[in-house]
């Protein structure tokens, strides 16, 4: 199991926009460089990308809630 870590503090989102589908569902394949979530800070949305390939397991951080730098956002089976 590998962990996707938030590189910075802000608000975490699991979808590109409120109406859109989740970036990843459990069982989805994950490729290196694929976007897993968004962090909103300073009026900017920063894409959080996977640094490894595998199978998506679950989001650990909740949609729309604050996260800190270094916090685990999601888990991927590699």
């Amino acid at each position: 199991m590998a962990q996707v870590i938030s590189p910075l503090p802000g608000t975490f989102y699991v979808k590109p926009s409120p109406e859109a589908a989740l970036y990843k569902n459990p069982g989805d394949p994950v490729a290196i460089g694929e976007t897993i979530g968004l962090i909103e800070v300073m009026k900017t949305f920063i894409e959080v990308k996977a640094e490894f390939a595998g199978t998506f397991s679950a989001y650990v951080a909740e949609d729309g809630l604050p996260v800190t730098a270094g916090q685990v956002l999601a888990e991927v089976v590699v």
Binding site: L8, M42, P66
Partner: protein, 323 residues
Amino acid sequence: MTLKIKNPGLATSIQDLGRIGYFHLGIPLGGAMDRYALRAANMLVGNDEGAACLEAVFMGPEIEFTQTATVAVTGAQLPIKVDGEYQEAWTSFVVKAGQTLSFDFLQSGARIYIAVSGGITTPEALGSRSTYPIGALGGVEGRAIQTGDELPTGGSEGPGAGRTVSEPLRRKPGTPASLRVLPGLYWHRLTDEAGAGFFEDEWKVAPEADRMGYRFKGGRPLEFVDREQPFGAGADPSNIVDGCYSYGSIQVPGGTEPIVLHRDAVSGGGYFTLGAVISADMDLIGQLQPHTSVKFEKVDMAKALDARKERKGMLARIREELV
């Protein structure tokens, strides 16, 4: 000598002490959000205190050095590495030609200041190297740094490793952070209850807080004293006939979310300002992460001036330590 930017981080910009003297023309003060930390970083590497440094927010850059230099990183706790080897914050260290400076995840605070011996020597605009992206002034062609940039420096090797600022002089906000406020010109617009509530409530830094302004959420909405809005003022009770804003002034659009105007703020507009954060505490705002708890503390002018003196005294003590 140049600094080769391999990765810029999030919004890393060149900053000095600011572009003073143009605020009345609408050009912001600019400069480091935490000027105390910038001064300390420069002192550690033997620069003039106002030399241009890199200000990195939340995420550090990755920089390759083309020549050996003395470097210091102050401000937020963002673990520092040279070719993967950890270095002390608030302490000078040497980066040799060909080595790379990089950073781990942020642990506390918000902004680091990276001083390099000789200072960054990009061209000045209106007397400052500070980056003001909206006005395309200063920095590298008026913008934040990007991958592939090569930043010129003064090139000196500097005083070398091991110069340090002692722990009590590494100024940072408390938990919750306390920001001292001097009530201002438009304080009378608030009801007594709303004025008291502003100081009683716990506020949290909003994620949109940036170099222009720090927005806060979570306190009770402010109630205004009834009045007929004067000619030229907007319809909302938080509106005034356009006036000047000072550095640190606190506007509350719609009476809901206070915004403390910071280094890249506008210099005037049509919102009332209930007061100003005192100059001594503006550096602390630069170190607040989103969602951090904050209390505003009411002070009078005498206390504000004492706090200014105390901050100056701390800088003087750093100078003595680094002679």
